[in-house]
Symmetry: D2
Subunit: 240 residues, 4 copies
Amino acid sequence: MTNVTVWNENRHEQSNPKVREVYPEGIHGAIASFLKKADLNVRTATLDEPEHGLTDSVLKDTDVLVWWGHMAHDEVRDEIVEKVHQRVLEGMGLVVLHSGHFSKIFKKLMGTTCDLKWREADEKERLWVVDPSHPITEGIGEYIELEREEMYGEHFDIPAPDQLVFTSWFEGGEVFRSGCTYRRGNGRVFYFRPGHETYPTYHNEEIQRVITNGVNWTAPVKRVRPVYGNAEPIEKIENK
Amino acid sequence: MTNVTVWNENRHEQSNPKVREVYPEGIHGAIASFLKKADLNVRTATLDEPEHGLTDSVLKDTDVLVWWGHMAHDEVRDEIVEKVHQRVLEGMGLVVLHSGHFSKIFKKLMGTTCDLKWREADEKERLWVVDPSHPITEGIGEYIELEREEMYGEHFDIPAPDQLVFTSWFEGGEVFRSGCTYRRGNGRVFYFRPGHETYPTYHNEEIQRVITNGVNWTAPVKRVRPVYGNAEPIEKIENK
Amino acid sequence: MTNVTVWNENRHEQSNPKVREVYPEGIHGAIASFLKKADLNVRTATLDEPEHGLTDSVLKDTDVLVWWGHMAHDEVRDEIVEKVHQRVLEGMGLVVLHSGHFSKIFKKLMGTTCDLKWREADEKERLWVVDPSHPITEGIGEYIELEREEMYGEHFDIPAPDQLVFTSWFEGGEVFRSGCTYRRGNGRVFYFRPGHETYPTYHNEEIQRVITNGVNWTAPVKRVRPVYGNAEPIEKIENK
Amino acid sequence: MTNVTVWNENRHEQSNPKVREVYPEGIHGAIASFLKKADLNVRTATLDEPEHGLTDSVLKDTDVLVWWGHMAHDEVRDEIVEKVHQRVLEGMGLVVLHSGHFSKIFKKLMGTTCDLKWREADEKERLWVVDPSHPITEGIGEYIELEREEMYGEHFDIPAPDQLVFTSWFEGGEVFRSGCTYRRGNGRVFYFRPGHETYPTYHNEEIQRVITNGVNWTAPVKRVRPVYGNAEPIEKIENK
């Protein structure tokens, strides 16, 4: 069974009653709740726990890490980011949600600013499937419609995705590459755009399905990891 | 359970005692045999059966088609190729092996000549994993070594693979992109190089593991297929 | 100097006065006109000329072929398509415009149906640059806006582009991968969406700039072409 | 005219007579020398200069930066790396050579360890062209052969290249993705493997040709850079 850790900064929930109303158990609680129904072994971790809840033993025991953060990216300690980075390169899956595009871990994995356009205007979003063969789209129709969401628009400053799964349309005139996969080391990364804290996006069953699919898709492959460094020749090389 | 059809031209086995000795039940028989042990529902089909064994009902009932052909590519009837092509675009997985690079179906899906360099000289081949996160490499070490195989060398005239999984080294001085994945329509395609008919390559357990992984990886995703054609506007567009 | 041949089916211009009004010299004439100003050596060819204007000597002498077709795709003779295909694989650049997505040559190069959604409703289109480093975007801002165009929507049944350069937003709720590059053999292909025959799209200076950039980007690289077939070993392989 | 800065750590040249013999003017001197013949405006910079020779004004005035480093990666100051990173994202081209795979700037752009296998055993290397349409291969045959080089072997821990241009064969049994392109922000990156300090690799005319091509290919595209941040709606969104 895949071990999933849902990490949430959990700050908006403390300071904004509107967010608390939408997510009474926190965004992490909402996500953990639907993942548990999908035959996954789920725990949560938050910023204000010791080591942000990401101790060595938790990380070692995590197959897939889900990440939501926004207003407190800078408070995530660099040494924890290093450990998460190391674990991704070793094979741990990573699902980065919404404003997590600006998290230290995502920027470190991408090598770019991960900047974008944004606007809070209660706009309709429509996430079109552009790769209908991708396991992340299992059970989803041609598009997912969200009646109101925050807009994220291009240019999104990321490396070209290994696979582009979703592209969003927004009412106000923008598009966005909203479902992107990457490989980094032995690990797989899935960025998925929706989920502004003031909207009930994570209660949407199609969004839940995509995140669940994303967790399954990023789960590590069981294999021996590559060996690096000085190597003996495999073929006999004659003395020259 | 995934339904797999292993297709083999099955001609070398008839004319060449050496091949018959290596594969007494045919190449298709050898491949079907190890796939059956992997919790897959397997049947075989060959060139000289009516409709090459690929009737409408067989194709409709096939989740993944494995393809081995070599000396009789031209005898595969165009209307059968059309049907296989249509099924791949609908979502059927396709695993193309070795000399299948020159099959009508592979060339049709690629849009290129699929030409390459080759040499029969009992050379050592070493297939290096270049994407250690890919499910097709599950259970495989850093490389697979085949003591003797036919050489295939670059330039291999294919579109850039969506994912490059293996690259081969050959004793005589060549390299080859020997494990390549593609998406075409709703279907997934995996090309895997090894398997010249005079070598016992498909008895190699690591090769068996890769082909089994490839079958599982190309198995179709369950979802509604896209709709094409004239569309009604989703947003209200004012009369202009 | 790069030799460019602009091919146009040139049928709407004959039958539809509205199209003739927008493009009095034909779509090919309009395109040739702005390309000539860009230090390119330009000629035109149309469907109803002998061999569709694409004789062996014209093709041999063409570095980049621009293709516009729509209502008469089926009238393009297969043997001419074969020759164009062969020339692309040899290195000739190909710029496919708008409804050319359904041309025989584009479908042959892609290996898929190239189907899509469409709607004629005078909708606004906005082509967002998603790859700001790409030479095809030189001189273009963040997006190109076309006040009225035909809508093309996802899912667009193409292989994942090697490079996705533009993504379109449409007023009615759809998105579309509207600028896509591919390599096929030694040749480079650029698909660019805009240009429905009843709109003055090819008179738009930004669209002209993109097409000009596309021609320059697909122009062939000067090099010896790969050799295929039976090869001598380069390294000495000991007799076994 | 493109402004190129060739950066070299320039340490082996000071401590190892063998290297000084091969490159009496330093590796940077050798590279600058052949680039100057290619209609490029070239300067050099080295580690021990103030700010490593990469002052704000030099960086601002550099279109393409060529990077060679090995034994002193750690001595490159982080704030200089930040500035180079920023410039790449703004559009400056970057050509990273050989052991530069472990430079701070390359690791930062890749987001991975960039680790690999290596061996110093005077092995033959053959760099096969796998993308014959790529401008970086202009003027090059099917492969480049280097009689003796250091071996670099897979797994090379990099993100999947946007374009894989060369793959190397080594005498001792390894392969390596030896010519890789990436886009990061508005900038283009080319990694090219050859060039161990004790071999006369940068005197090889084909290697010189590839590096020159790489400089030209990574040169920035002239365009307005994307705007990020809070955006006004382009379409009128009705009050809700």
